[in-house]
């Protein structure tokens, strides 16, 4: 079974630039999550989708972050404009019962 795919794996941008991350969940998984993991901390949930609807986006900084899951499969997470404190690993996960993570995208904002 293929796992959760994410791209790119690494991204370096300057502050105030925009960036987008892509996630392809495990086939058949209705629930998709985006997490932010800052070095030395556990993953923090940004947004949770059930199919193509948002279940929880209470911790998503909506002034700069946006996410969508068109057709209830792939998802993109966008940051515009980026700040230095957005430097982190962005993890996508999907679940049917148990949750499975992708390898993450490491974002560095300079």
């Amino acid at each position: 079974e293929a796992g959760v795919a994410q791209s790119p794996r690494y991204k370096i941008i300057e502050k105030r630039q925009s960036v987008a991350f892509w996630c392809n969940p495990i086939s058949g998984h209705a629930t998709l999550y985006w997490y932010q993991q800052i070095l030395g901390q556990g993953p923090k949930l940004l947004i949770q989708f059930q199919n193509n609807g948002v279940v929880d986006d209470s911790q998503l900084p909506k002034d700069r972050f946006s996410a969508e899951r068109l057709k209830g499969v792939d998802s993109t997470l966008k940051i515009q404009p980026a700040k230095l404190e957005d430097s982190a690993v962005y993890l996508c996960a999907s679940s049917l019962s148990s949750q499975y993570f992708g390898p993450g995208t490491r974002l560095t904002v300079t």
Binding site: L39, G40, D56, S98, P103
Partner: protein, 112 residues
């Protein structure tokens, strides 16, 4: 790759010994708990889970214990191997949600 958890609590154990990693969770309404292993440059990997109607669950070389009275979760790894070196996170799920709340991780170092 860059390490996860440079400033996390660290548990060092000798290869072959048993490891016990502890976690305090926050929400008494949580009814599902999971342990994850995260190696450098990788996403968290599911290890074992337990529901709140259980006190103990065993897997292959791993056991999870749940004490709801003091909101404490532990992961026991038997005969710890070098490949077990990683950062371990516990996560809780409040009842009625599919939301995973992660705790502070613990770095496990296995000494040869």
């Amino acid at each position: 790759g860059e390490s996860v958890g440079l400033h996390l609590p660290t548990l060092s154990v000798q290869e072959g010994d048993n490891s016990i990693i502890n976690c305090a969770y926050s929400n008494s309404a949580s009814d599902y708990f999971i342990w994850y292993k995260q190696e450098s440059g990788k996403g968290p990997q599911f290890i074992i889970d337990i529901r709140s109607n259980m006190d103990k669950r065993q897997g292959q070389r791993v056991t999870v214990l749940l004490n709801k009275t003091v909101k404490h979760l532990s992961l026991q790894i038997a005969a710890t191997q070098p490949g077990d070196s990683a950062v371990y996170f516990c996560a809780e799920t409040p009842i009625g949600t599919y939301k995973y709340i992660f705790g502070t991780g613990t770095r496990l170092k296995v000494l040869a």
